[in-house]
């Protein structure tokens, strides 16, 4: 499961930064049929979490009400240089993760 993360490469300590993530995932609702008429099993990302240098700063419970290839944008305070690491898990138990580093000055 591929994903894209966007955060500023550099920030000042204490600055509020914008965090964006886009994950490739069908977010199957469980109501769609395939080409031969079979119901496609529900498979959505249920939990998405973001840790900043190991500390959880954001978490979301998602459902079939979130669009395919989910997009989430939120904010966090730049505290120290390091990594933002996203992890997520879907109904089939498949996990994904992606990280992006940031340099914090001042």
């Amino acid at each position: 499961m591929a994903a894209r993360i966007q955060i500023p490469r550099q920030a000042k300590r204490g600055e509020v930064i914008e965090v964006r993530i886009l994950i490739q995932h069908p977010m199957e609702t469980g109501y769609r049929h395939d080409d031969v008429g079979h119901l496609i099993k529900r498979n959505v990302i249920t939990v998405l979490s973001c840790r900043y240098n190991g500390v959880e700063v954001f978490r979301a419970d998602l459902s079939s009400g979130i669009s395919a290839n989910p997009y989430v944008q939120f904010y966090t305070v730049a505290q120290a240089s390091g990594d933002l690491e996203f992890t997520w898990i879907d109904d089939e138990g498949e996990r994904g993760s992606e990280r992006q580093s940031i340099v914090v000055k001042g």
Binding site: V57, R59, S63, I66, V72
Partner: protein, 145 residues
Amino acid sequence: MKRRDFLAGLAGSFALPRAALAQVDPLDPIVRAVTGGAPVRKGKVTLVLPQLADNGNSVPIRITVDSPMTEADHVRSIHLYSERNPVPNMANFYLGPRAGKAEINSRVRLAGSQRVTAVAKLSDGSFWYDAAPIVVTLSACLDES
């Protein structure tokens, strides 16, 4: 953290019968499940949706809460509800003082025209909401390819 109790309370909302949601003010039963009866006031929360969406598969949504986001006074969580989707509780977002700014943007699926509701829980235990109507012109089903 009180998160666990909170989640346990929230889980009740998943079990809500659909008919109940469609007939009564959608806020009422849902909010009770989230809050355990605490009052929910209109205000502080701003929910932004387009008035009209051409395709319900992907509708942009923005939720902001008027909060200083300090250790003493911040948003703990934001809960998003649909009146007509098969799963009424579309998403829950958990934040805290480290967010610095209480704003979430995402894209949602909407099964038709309806009212969407966002409920925020603040660090003092109070609940606030905003709701917005949206018209969804379902796509023409031009393709089965």
